[in-house]
Every structure is written in C-alpha cells, then in structure tokens.
C-alpha cells in the first residue's frame, strides 16, 4: 500500500498549519516526521486519518483519494492511528478498549487471534485486562493505545508522540516494539519530539518547520546533519 501526500494544505480558522507538503510512504517503510511544536506534525497525521479535512492538496492510498473520507471509513482502509495523548477510553476496561479497536472486524476468529497477538506483545495488558483503563500507569496506557490501534490490523500505523511523558525504559520498550512491528511488514509513520529516538528507529525522516518540509533524507543522514543536531537533537 502506497500512501501519497501531495501539496497538502490545512488551516484552522484561516491560520495555516500545513502550507503544502508532499511525501510518499511505500509499503513496509518506517518514516518519521520531526519538528518543533506547531510545525504541523500532528496535523499531518490527523489529516491522513480524516480527523482534519485539508483545505488543499490531496492524500491518496494506492492512487485512490482518501482525503474526503471520514475517520471511521479510513480505519477500514487499514490505516491505524495512535493519537497524541493516548486517548484511551479511561472508563472502559482494558479488554473493552481492545475490542473497540477491533470494531471494524466482525469476524470473531480474527478478533480473538489479534487480541492474543497483542497480549503476547504486551503481557501487562493481559494481566490487567479487566482493570479500568484510566487506572493504569502512563506507560501501560500507551501500550493500550498502541494495542488498540493494532486490533484493527492496520497495514499503516500512524503514531503521534508515543514517547511523551514516559520513563526512558518504557520508551525503549516501545521503540523496540515498533521496529519489530515494522519488520513484520507494517508501515510505520512516527511523529516525535524525541527526534533522537525517532531517527534511530526510522529509515527515512522529514523535518517539518512551520507547515513546510524543510528537509527530507535518510534518517541516519538527518541524525548527522548539523542543523538537525542543533535544532532537534540538543547536541
């Protein structure tokens, strides 16, 4: 599945957030969007998953436009989104959250198979499956948010700041998990303020600055770039 974003423009109440960005993500890629606050990283993901409608440009999936579709339809195209701030259903149990992640799948066997896989990846979710989701730690909630998105069996997974507010050891765990997921063939688009982590994990990176793509290169090259080092890696 090839995701293409071309000349994408988004504005919120006439303030532009994206001013015409273009990039392509091939099947099995691991790309990251880095940049400072307000550069348009989240907006890009939110527009791909249909939460925000673009004011210009287009998004296509295997050549078919998806930018006019609603989010609940875009999930069915196998694009999963782990939103910023996790946004799990705090009053529901862990397993209810996961079952809702599989909302688009009606086949019981598929759902049971998937939930088993998620529990294998995140055994702690299994231990806490009957617990109210909001009572878990931040790291566990992030795992639940990722697990919930996996329940839809996405071919493309969008992640918005999964490392935010988590202990380094959990961040490392999540990073390893994303690499593993990608090696199984899931396309990953990762948005991170933690550029260090993001450039380690991804193969290709885009640097967003005030709604435009300022740089695009292999992640390793970006990590070596003087400007990126100074502006985003804090070296």
């Amino acid at each position: 599945m090839k995701l293409s974003v071309s000349n994408l423009e988004v504005s919120y109440n006439k303030v532009s957030a994206l001013r015409g960005i273009s990039f392509e993500v091939d099947s099995g890629d691991f790309v990251t969007l880095i940049g400072s606050n307000g550069a348009g990283k989240s907006t890009t993901l939110r527009t791909i998953s249909g939460l925000v409608k673009p004011s210009g440009g287009e998004i296509t999936l295997d050549g078919a436009r998806i930018d006019n579709l609603d989010p609940d339809v875009i999930v069915q195209k196998r694009i999963g989104h782990v939103p910023e701030g996790r946004r799990i259903f705090k009053d529901l149990s862990v397993s209810e959250n996961l079952m809702l992640g599989a909302y688009i799948h009606r086949d019981r066997n598929t759902v049971e198979k998937t939930i088993k896989q998620v529990f294998e990846h995140f055994p702690r979710l299994h231990d806490r499956r009957n617990q109210q989701a909001g009572t878990m730690s931040g790291g566990e909630q992030q795992m639940l948010a990722i697990g919930r998105a996996l329940m839809s069996r996405p071919k493309i997974l969008l992640l918005d700041e999964p490392s935010l507010g988590l202990a380094p050891i959990i961040v490392k765990e999540i990073g390893e998990f994303l690499s593993e997921l990608n090696s199984q063939g899931v396309t990953v688009i990762l948005v991170e303020q933690n550029a260090d982590l993001a450039l380690q994990l991804a193969r290709f990176g885009y640097v967003l600055e005030t709604g435009l793509i300022a740089m695009a290169d292999r992640a390793a090259n970006l990590a070596d770039n003087e400007h990126v080092k100074k502006a985003y890696l804090g070296i």
Binding site: S49, P71, G80, R87, Y103
Partner: protein, 289 residues
C-alpha cells in the same frame, strides 16, 4: 410503621419513572453533549399517546404503550437528524433547538387534546396487591415498576455486554478517539437519541394511568431528571439510577409527611447544594485537565 413501609415502597415504585426519564437524558447528554430540554415533553407525548389511543380510541393499553415508545423514539430521531446533528459543534445551539421543540410539542399536545382540565386515563389494571395485611400496591403501579426495572436492566446489558453499547460509551468519552476505531459517531448519536427518547416515551406511557395528563406535565419530569442527573453525577448512568431511587424515596417521604411542593423545593435546594459542595455528584468523575 405501616405508613413508613408503605411510603418506602411507594418511593421505590416512583423511582422507576424518575430513572427512566433521567437515564435517557444522561445518555443523550453523554453521547451528544446536548442538554435535551424537551425531554420532559417527550415524556408528555408518551402520556398523551396513551390517553389519545387508549382512553379516547379504545386501543388495547399494551399496544398503545408500544406505539407511544415508537412514536417518541421517532421524534427523537428527527430531532437528532435535523436539529442536533447540524448543531454538533455548538452545544448551546442544540440546547436552544431543544427548547424550541419543547414549545412545539406543548402546542401540539394542546391542539390534539384541547385546553381545559388535565386528562385522566383509567388504569387498565385494576385491583391492589395486599402484602402482610398492611402493604398496598395497586397492580397498575406494580406493572409500571416492573416494566421500568426490566427496561433499565436491558439498557445495562446493552451498554456493558454488547459491542454497540461499548461503542456508545466510547463515543461518550471521546468522540474523536472513537471515530479512529471505526465507530461512526453520527450513528451512535442516532442510537443514543432513539434509545433516550424511547425511554422518555415509555416513562410517559407508563405514567399515563397514574397521573394528570396536560401539556405542561413535562415540566416536573425535566426538573426531576435534572435533580437526579446532578445528584448522581453528570454523565454517570449508574449514578442517575441510584440518585433516582434516593430522590424518589426522599420526595415521596416529604410529600407524605409534609407536602409535594415542599418536596420539590427541597429537592432543588439539595441539587444546588450538591452543585456547590460536590459538583461531580455521587458517582460522577471529577473533571481534570
């Protein structure tokens, strides 16, 4: 002692109506974030349907109850589709629209039933159950309570055991995150509004043989529903049910030992006190962020 026990039983039976009306209001507010001011009038339409079809036109009682529920659910669906949905981004707009519906329904009831004294529906189930030689429960009330309790039980099952019920709760908690799971939130709004309105219609239909029916009867219903919703904790369905029982007991006791007016006034005072002391209600969550 006899009066005490009798009042307690009366209160519990009363709580069934309160809970039906309040739970619908909470469901609609939870999923759509709209305060449905016309909720009392939906109840009124339910009662009017029974009066018109059963008392005036001799349709069998049970059939009129079903008809009332379906009719009021349809009104709810129309409200969702043509008023609340276009007002999705404006909770105040939805509220004002619901006030409009309130007046329209009151006028419609006056057109159908005419002005003049309140209507009565003769209770289709006559007789009284006497327990231990002292407790008297008219069969009509027993029937209403049984139907209300069963309906609440079914709703609970629907919300906690069924996939669509989870989806409704998910939309109530986070509409956007729910849509990312593939849940069509407009469809969930329709379900919430349909179910909420149906329960209001059912409350009205069950109440019909036990109360005075007039175009303004919704007033008491909405006040009660607000009190119960706030005491129980805005957005909490179990809270609304528990608060319904507590408030119904309270209201019935005060009515029996003092008067109905004092009961309603003290109910409102309690609501205000709760808003000041514990705005999250009995089971509501404290809003963080």
């Amino acid at each position: 002692m006899e009066l005490l026990v009798q009042t307690m039983v009366n209160g519990i039976i009363q709580s069934g109506f309160y809970a039906l009306a309040a739970v619908g209001l909470v469901l609609i507010f939870g999923v759509m974030k709209v305060v449905n001011f016309a909720h009392g009038e939906l109840t009124m339409v339910g009662a009017y349907s029974v009066w018109f079809l059963h008392a005036q036109n001799d349709m069998p009682f049970l059939l009129t109850v079903v008809t009332a529920v379906v009719l009021v659910a349809m009104i709810g669906l129309l409200m969702e589709r043509f008023l609340f949905r276009p007002m999705t981004d404006s909770p105040l707009g939805g509220l004002i629209c619901s006030i409009g519906v309130l007046f329209v329904l009151q006028v419609a009831a006056t057109l159908v039933g005419g002005e003049g004294p309140s209507k009565q529906v003769p209770p289709p189930y006559e007789g009284t159950l006497v327990l231990f030689d002292m407790l008297r429960i008219p069969y009509q009330r027993l029937f209403s309570f049984a139907v209300a309790a069963t309906t609440l039980g079914l709703l609970w099952y629907f919300l906690t055991r069924m996939r669509i019920g989870w989806a409704l709760r998910a939309v109530a908690q986070d509409r956007e995150a729910a849509s990312l799971q593939g849940i069509n939130s407009n469809r969930m709004s329709m379900i919430a509004m349909g179910v909420g309105a149906a329960m209001a219609g059912l409350a009205g239909a069950l109440m019909a043989p036990l109360t005075n029916i007039n175009p303004h009867m919704g007033h008491n219903v909405i006040i009660t529903a607000f009190i119960v919703t706030i005491v129980g904790g805005v957005g909490s369905l179990p809270g609304a049910v528990i608060a319904s029982v507590l408030y119904a007991l309270f209201h019935t006791f005060v009515t029996t030992y003092f008067s109905g007016t004092i009961a309603t006034i003290s109910g409102l005072v309690i609501m205000v006190l709760i808003l000041i002391v514990r705005p999250s209600g009995i089971l509501g969550k404290r809003v963080t962020e």
